[in-house]
């Protein structure tokens, strides 16, 4: 069957292109055909992009939900085998509150998950697939990569900042160095750590330029070990041929109750916010009592600059 090109919208073409990329990279389709109980989403409310969920009562009387997210369902339903690796992709409608209108919207989401034995090679594979996805969306794209373990370790080391840690992490997300410095100072952090936090927030660029600076900043505050782990990840990016395609940016942060390690966000020219978001979420796996590690990402097709 030949389909006339003019009847396929720009958004649909991208969905098909992404599907092809995922398939070529060894991911297999995951289809969500049933509804989950509301409880699954309520327990992991902060993991969701918006915490409002559409609910309904099933024929059995159970309170069910229209999916606001696909990842939680995949984790719940997949076999927990920490020594193997499952590579899955999905295209599913999700139901979320749209920020502009504050009403529920049906949004096509496309994404993938790697669950099981997640090592450096697997992380590089997922990030490489993210790069290819952005390439398919736009000729002009940027993928920013961060390491939450570094951000977390630096805050922990800077002093007794437990009470303000979440606030500091969101200031990393705003690239707000002045406010972060003020809060650290108010809470008695040492000046050398405050300087390191400010520098880390302001770092931005290609690994080639950033890694030497990062080494200097982190070894200056006794975090050489954390640097070495991140350096290995960047080396694996090099091996996968994508080190030139990513930028290092510690303003990419996610909720540490769920995420850890490598997190990333993708931008394309013409979209005002990130269109791709992902990272390692071992903490969510632990929370859901699974031994496997995991990494994944989603493409927000509603934010794409296409018809």
């Amino acid at each position: 069957m030949i389909i006339n090109d003019s009847v396929i919208s720009g958004g649909e073409k991208i969905i098909f292109a992404l599907r092809e990329i995922y398939f070529k990279n060894g991911f297999r389709p995951y289809r969500m055909s049933k509804f989950e109980e509301y409880d699954l989403y309520a327990k992991n409310k902060d993991f969701l992009v918006s915490d409002n969920v559409i609910t309904f009562t099933d024929t059995s009387g159970k309170l069910m939900a229209l999916k606001p997210d696909v990842t939680l369902s995949i984790i719940k339903n997949i076999k927990d085998s920490p020594d193997e690796i499952s590579r899955l992709y999905y295209n599913e409608n999700v139901y979320r509150i749209s920020k502009g209108t504050n009403t529920f919207k049906e949004i096509m989401q496309s994404g993938l998950e790697c669950i099981g034995k997640v090592d450096g090679e697997c992380i590089a594979g997922v990030v490489s697939t993210a790069v290819q996805s952005l390439q398919a969306i736009s000729g002009k794209f940027i993928l920013d990569v961060s390491d939450l373990d570094i951000v977390s370790a630096l805050i922990d080391r800077a002093g007794d900042l437990k009470g303000v840690k979440n606030r500091l992490i969101s200031l990393f997300g705003e690239k707000n160095a002045h406010e972060a410095a003020r809060i650290c100072r108010e809470n008695g952090a040492g000046e050398e750590y405050i300087k390191a936090i400010k520098e880390l927030i302001s770092l931005y660029g290609k690994p080639e330029k950033i890694m030497p600076e990062l080494r200097r900043i982190l070894s200056g505050v006794g975090l050489g070990g954390e640097f070495a782990l991140f350096e290995n990840i960047i080396k694996s990016f090099d091996k996968a041929g994508i080190a030139d395609e990513v930028n290092i940016d510690f303003s990419v942060v996610s909720d540490m109750n769920y995420y850890n390690g490598v997190v990333f966000k993708g931008f394309v020219d013409g979209a005002a916010d990130s269109v791709l978001s992902g990272g390692q979420y071992d903490n969510l796996m632990k929370k859901m009592k699974k031994k496997s590690k995991a990494i994944g990402f989603a493409v927000y097709t509603d934010r794409l600059p296409v018809d």
Binding site: K140, I142, D144, E174, K175, N176, H178, E179, Y204, G205, N247, S251, F267, V268, D269, A271, A272, D273, S274
Partner: protein, 209 residues
């Protein structure tokens, strides 16, 4: 081309001077007319005047790459933007004010009149005080005088408006000043220009301090 949203008014003029000294000059902006958009292709910059409370919206949506907004607006609307610099100008504070003889009655909800419902809500949630928010768009000071509210949460600069209306500051909520904000995607795609503006302006604010 770097698109800059400036807040209309005296603060915006000060901000433009900072940009000019940082190498982003656009002489036509000083002409007395009612135009809102000014461009200087040689310096690679375009300015537009917008309502101060709208700057964050222009930047969040990417119509402007960078802009200058008060911390009050950023706290109230929480736009998804980068906050790159505290410019140290337009300094004031958000405060709780009430008639001088005001005594809080903890037996009932405190009636708070404000333009900044979120900031007021967050502040009283932090103190554990039950409140009733009365959202107003202006002339907040008259609310307690007319018995519409017990207190107000508003911006206090010199305190003269409060004094003239027989109000006094009871608590400070948060210090406010003008912040340089950037659109997240623009920060990446126009990184070189934005970093040049940030570094130029940050040198000026450091000199001032």
């Amino acid at each position: 081309m770097l698109n800059v949203a400036l807040p209309k008014g005296r603060l915006g003029e000060k901000v433009y001077d900072m940009f000019e000294r940082a190498g982003f000059e656009c002489p036509s902006i000083k002409e007395q007319n009612r135009k809102l958009i000014f461009e200087n292709p040689e310096a690679g910059v375009r300015y537009f005047w917008v309502k101060p409370s709208d700057v964050a919206i222009y930047v969040e949506r990417g119509a402007a790459d960078i802009g200058v907004a008060g911390k009050d607006i950023l706290l109230e609307y929480e736009p998804a933007v980068y906050e790159l610099l505290d410019l140290g100008i337009g300094k004031c504070r958000m405060a709780v004010a009430a008639p001088a003889d005001f005594v809080d009655n903890p037996q009932r909800a405190l009636r708070v009149a404000t333009k900044f419902s979120k900031i007021a809500g967050d502040y009283y949630a932090g103190t554990g005080r039950d409140i009733d928010i009365i959202h107003l768009n202006g002339s907040i000071e008259i609310a307690p005088i007319l018995g519409l509210s017990d207190v107000i949460v508003d911006i206090v600069e010199t305190g003269s408006t409060l004094r003239e209306n027989n109000l006094k500051v009871f608590e400070s909520v948060v210090p406010i000043s003008a912040r340089l904000i950037a659109n997240k995607a623009s920060f990446k795609f126009k990184n070189e220009e934005i970093v040049r503006a940030v570094e130029g302006i940050s040198r000026l604010t450091e000199e001032k301090q």
